[in-house]
């Protein structure tokens, strides 16, 4: 199964920590929620996932 970046919008509080610490500028805030703007650049490093205080973004699949 290939990896996928998932955002759970109803848990996102728009703090933008994921946006700031993404090394590849994959994310942005739109309408006060984290949004994927450049998924092709994602290297699935999980930095967004481990820093999200609300568990609203994570990598699914892969090993």
């Amino acid at each position: 199964m290939s990896k996928k970046l998932i955002i759970k919008e109803d848990w996102c509080k728009g703090c933008a920590i994921c946006v700031a610490f993404c090394p590849k500028k994959v994310l942005d805030i739109k309408k006060e929620k984290a949004t994927i703007v450049n998924e092709e650049a994602c290297i699935y490093c999980s930095l967004c996932e481990i820093r999200c205080p609300d568990y609203a973004i994570y990598i699914e699949g892969g090993k």
Binding site: I6, C15, A16, V19, A20, R51, P53, Y55
Partner: protein, 255 residues
């Protein structure tokens, strides 16, 4: 739908949690889940005890045996749980106010006894839940609702205080330094004796705004820039439950 670690350790239907956007408490809660997962401890053999505060809401979210007790008294309740269930992994999660102001005496005496508990401090330098009063860890000069012209008190260093009182494991982590902090929590739980991991959290809502430290992102960047995770001490000494047990056995004629 949630990541496997969240699905496994957070009670279904309790998210989103009450912590504000950018609050470091959520990151520290996840670190604890990862630490337990890495240690491979059965969830039913873990008891998480908290007092009162934003941080203490953790007991409602995590799917262990949990006790949400009274302000400052989590360590006392945890001591009771551990005495009655010596095989249980007993963890206390507390705010800086909870553990070092109203609960300061419980902290130092549990450390002195070297009872096998692990205390995780979610230290945001302020009383979050009640609206931003200064706590014993608020730096000198900083603003709080109870220090509108600057705090004149000198802050506690909770990890060093605990070492001075007799803790046998002490470390300092932060919400930003996820890997180190998770490792410290893991070591603290595995440690036989009183362990404390003082974790810098962040409160953008009260502390950040009052002190013009910026929002969630800026406060994380400050941790990245100014904070170095550190293990202060790891040492084995007689542990209280075991010593107590020896006395009981001796009184029963050495059996």
């Amino acid at each position: 739908m949630a990541s496997p670690i969240i699905k496994k350790y957070i009670r279904e239907g309790t998210l989103p949690h009450i912590w504000c956007g950018g609050c470091g408490h959520g990151i520290i809660m996840r670190n604890l889940a990862v630490a337990i997962e890495n240690l491979g401890i059965d969830r039913d053999k873990v008891c998480l005890v908290s007092g009162i505060g934003c941080s203490s809401r953790i007991a409602g979210y995590m799917d262990f045996n949990t006790l949400h007790t009274t302000h400052g008294r989590a360590v006392a309740f945890a001591t009771g749980v551990k005495v009655a269930n010596p095989d249980m992994t007993v963890i206390v999660a507390a705010g800086d106010g909870d553990i070092s102001a109203i609960g300061g005496n419980h902290l130092i005496h549990a450390a002195r006894r070297n009872i096998d508990l692990t205390v995780i401090v979610m230290n945001n330098d302020i009383y979050g839940m009640t609206g931003g009063q200064f706590s014993p860890t608020t730096p000198m000069g900083d603003l709080a609702t109870t220090a509108p012209y600057g705090n004149v008190d000198r802050p506690f260093d909770i990890a060093k205080l605990s070492v001075g009182a007799g803790a046998t494991y002490a470390a300092k982590g932060s919400a930003y330094h996820v890997k180190d902090t998770t490792k410290f929590i893991q070591e603290g739980i595995a440690h036989k004796g009183f362990a404390i991991i003082d974790c810098v959290s962040s409160c953008p809502t009260y502390y950040g705004r009052k002190n013009k430290k910026g929002g969630a992102v800026e406060m994380m960047e400050l941790q990245k820039k100014n904070f170095v995770p550190e293990r202060l001490l790891e040492r084995l000494e007689p542990e209280w439950i075991e010593e107590y047990d020896k006395t009981i056995r001796a009184m029963k004629g050495g059996k």
